[in-house]
Symmetry: C2
Subunit: 219 residues, 2 copies
Amino acid sequence: MGSAFVFLEASLELIPQKIRGHPAVRADAIRRGKRPEKILLDDSKHHTAMKSLEFREKRGRPDIVHQCLLLLLDSPLRDFEVYVHTLNGEIIWVNRETRLPRNYNRFVGLMEKLFEERRITAGDTTLIEFKDVGLRDIVRGRDVLLFREKGGRFEFSELLDGDVAVCIGAFPHGDFFEETLRELGEFKEVSLGTESYTSLYVTSRVLCEYERVRAHKVG
Amino acid sequence: MGSAFVFLEASLELIPQKIRGHPAVRADAIRRGKRPEKILLDDSKHHTAMKSLEFREKRGRPDIVHQCLLLLLDSPLRDFEVYVHTLNGEIIWVNRETRLPRNYNRFVGLMEKLFEERRITAGDTTLIEFKDVGLRDIVRGRDVLLFREKGGRFEFSELLDGDVAVCIGAFPHGDFFEETLRELGEFKEVSLGTESYTSLYVTSRVLCEYERVRAHKVG
């Protein structure tokens, strides 16, 4: 089994039907020479169009999961799987050996290709892939740790020792959907401290503690 | 005095004179409606133009220092200063309270503004500023720790306890310039392990260890 890092409710989706005709979206589509339905929703470009979207405070921020994935995949430790659970409940598996584009615009292009082709390969190796499974399937059999502001404080050496599913939100504002929490089944809510931390900071701290618990495996 | 994190030889510069007439640069300048000399060198856009540049393997990657700064500034600890030493030897001071744009393209725009106006303010607070000092001035009086692949392995609890200058390279390939090493004066070379680590990963690990040494201050 082994452990997994799961980025929850990642702010990663194509421009939704409802706003594809909006001037800000059309302008971006023309500039990029792409149809709106093929373009990743990005608050820095589609902000005015997003005003009418429900839970828009959680949407249009692919930069968040990009930066978290870059840091996680930079770790010398190879003993965990990497998943992205999107805001729309889709599951993306990321091959632990994947080297993502470090440039944001290149990452956006790759994610648009993934949404179109459902899989990214290099030769006969699958690097990134939509999986036809639910969130509950990828955490099953693991101790589910949900990192959350109002969680409890625990000793990392005990917490991170077994087969864990480290679940970190990858959206800018707001809290987890009830549906997501139901899908996780039984989980422990863990807090890093009294402040509100970014997804990138949580990924950094938890990765560091995870590596520390497995220190003998790191070079 | 206190401690400081210094990102060394950051891949952060405006398009150099030598390649401002190159087709790839001119096309980007037209697209952005900006003159080449006002645009940040970016390998993902100016790659073909950069072929003739010396030490080009270290240039055109502002994404590196962007991601490192985002993570560092996300820390709840406030007891350190933040500096960027650019590949061209300039010193940029970053106010510890600064909230940088998390979107890369917005960060590029902000850095172009900084290069133009030499200072970024919010009301009467200076957020980011070119300082008319040398690298030796900002590390003076601190224990200089240079994180480098071939460095020694040390106990972090001792290493990071006093007033330190944590120096992390912020360029993609290659090694430090002799000039930079001379400017640092006396320093200890520290390695994180046997692999070659990204700037983002080094920032993450060192920040985590730094916080651990000062654990009683973190929420």
